[in-house]
């Protein structure tokens, strides 16, 4: 595979999603309804990224005790909800994950 061509095409494909809309839309005012809808983008996208990683394994539901991501995610959600502390959530969540994996 030609690595230069691969990198160039991937770079262009990525920039196409990041730059043109930012430049174009910063020149005009969006309708208020659109701006309100866009506020749901961050939570919706994050959820769509996380949930399949946690509950699926090779495309199949994986709701068993040796899936350490399940209990560790629940603990992380609890810590984040109670403390809103990102670093603490990461440290406790990772620890829970590694400990659970050692046990099961």
């Amino acid at each position: 595979m030609n690595e230069v061509w691969l990198l160039a095409s991937m770079a262009i494909a990525t920039m196409a999603t990041r730059i043109p809309v930012l430049v174009a839309l910063s020149r005009r005012t969006l309708p208020e309804g659109v701006e309100r809808a866009l506020r749901y983008v961050p939570p919706a996208v994050l959820s769509a990224i996380i949930l399949p990683i946690v509950v699926l394994r090779e495309g199949e539901l994986n709701l068993v005790t040796n899936n350490a991501m399940l209990p560790a995610s629940l603990i992380a959600i609890l810590i984040s909800w109670r403390t809103k502390n990102l670093l603490l959530t990461i440290v406790v969540g990772m620890t829970a994950f590694l400990v659970w994996r050692m046990i099961f």
Binding site: M1, N2, W5, L6, L7, S9, M10, A11, I12, A13, T14, M15, T17, R18, I19, V21, L22, A24, L25, S26, T29, L30, G33, E35, R36, A37, L38, Y40, V41, P42, P43, A44, V45, L46, S47, A48, I49, I50, L51, P52, I53, V55, L56, G59, A68, M69, A72, S73, A76, I77, S80, K84, L86, L87, T89, I90, G93, M94, F97, R101
Partner: protein, 245 residues
């Protein structure tokens, strides 16, 4: 303290470093992810130089992960580029969200700010912009966050490339959970009311059900349905004027 034109340079520096500082917890979460990417890049047959260069010119974690798995499966470059576009399509929504808040900024600023835009810096900016209404403050704040992510990602990739030449199966460590737990820590504080909760649930479940769709199109479908249900829920359960907790 009243702001005057003479305080501009130090103010730029202050906001730049505050942006970097607010991004710090996310750097911790992205570091193992970058490490694994570097190691998997080597394992896929990509040269060390190309593995490192991808982190500099593409700079998109999940797309880079998918790309190296496609490279390992001998996928043509055109297909990899198209997949990259679809996986990164969520950035279109991010830039549409940030654009009105950066209204009036020159193209010379918008292009680099767009180039370095990631999930993490987007979320940091959404929160940081609430406390900053000056364009001047916002651009330095976002740039600080983005450059912190960029430096961290490149350093992590480098370490991963070194590790990749020494370790057999880097994917089996379970370090990919670092990304999940980071995103959970970002997501939970965003759920400020029932409309957000519904958006999160609809989007998550759709992403799971649509996981088998080609080019990870399920991710985009999930985001769109999540946003829609949030908007509809907001209409059904109007927020109080005082603001929800």
């Amino acid at each position: 303290m009243p702001s005057s034109p003479t305080t501009q340079p130090s103010s730029a520096r202050t906001h730049f470093w505050q942006g970097a500082k607010d991004t710090f917890p996310l750097l911790v979460g992205a570091l193992p992810f970058g490490l694994i990417y570097g190691a998997l890049g080597i394992a896929s047959g990509l040269s060390p130089a190309a593995t490192a260069a991808m982190s500099l010119v593409v700079f998109a974690g999940s797309a880079q992960f998918i790309a190296v798995s496609l490279i390992a499966a001998q996928t043509p470059a055109v297909v990899i580029a198209l997949t990259t576009f679809v996986v990164n399509a969520r950035h279109i929504l991010y830039s549409a969200t940030l654009a009105p808040q950066l209204k009036g900024l020159s193209t010379g600023w918008l292009v680099p700010l767009g180039f370095w835009l990631t999930d993490e810096s987007f979320v940091v900016a959404v929160k940081g912009f609430e406390e900053r209404n000056q364009l001047e403050e916002r651009k330095w704040y976002l740039l600080g966050s983005e450059l912190a992510m960029y430096t961290n990602w490149f350093a992590a990739t480098g370490l991963g490339i070194l590790a990749g030449q020494a370790i057999d199966d880097p994917g089996s460590w379970g370090l990919d959970f670092a990304l999940v737990v980071t995103f959970i820590g970002m997501l939970v504080p965003m759920v400020k009311g029932r409309p957000e909760l519904l958006a999160v649930l609809v989007s998550g479940v759709t992403a799971v059900l649509g996981y088998g769709l080609p080019h990870r199109a399920g991710l985009l479908l999930a985001a769109v349905l999540g946003v829609l249900s949030g908007v509809l829920a907001e209409r059904a359960w109007p927020r109080s004027k005082a603001g929800t907790p």
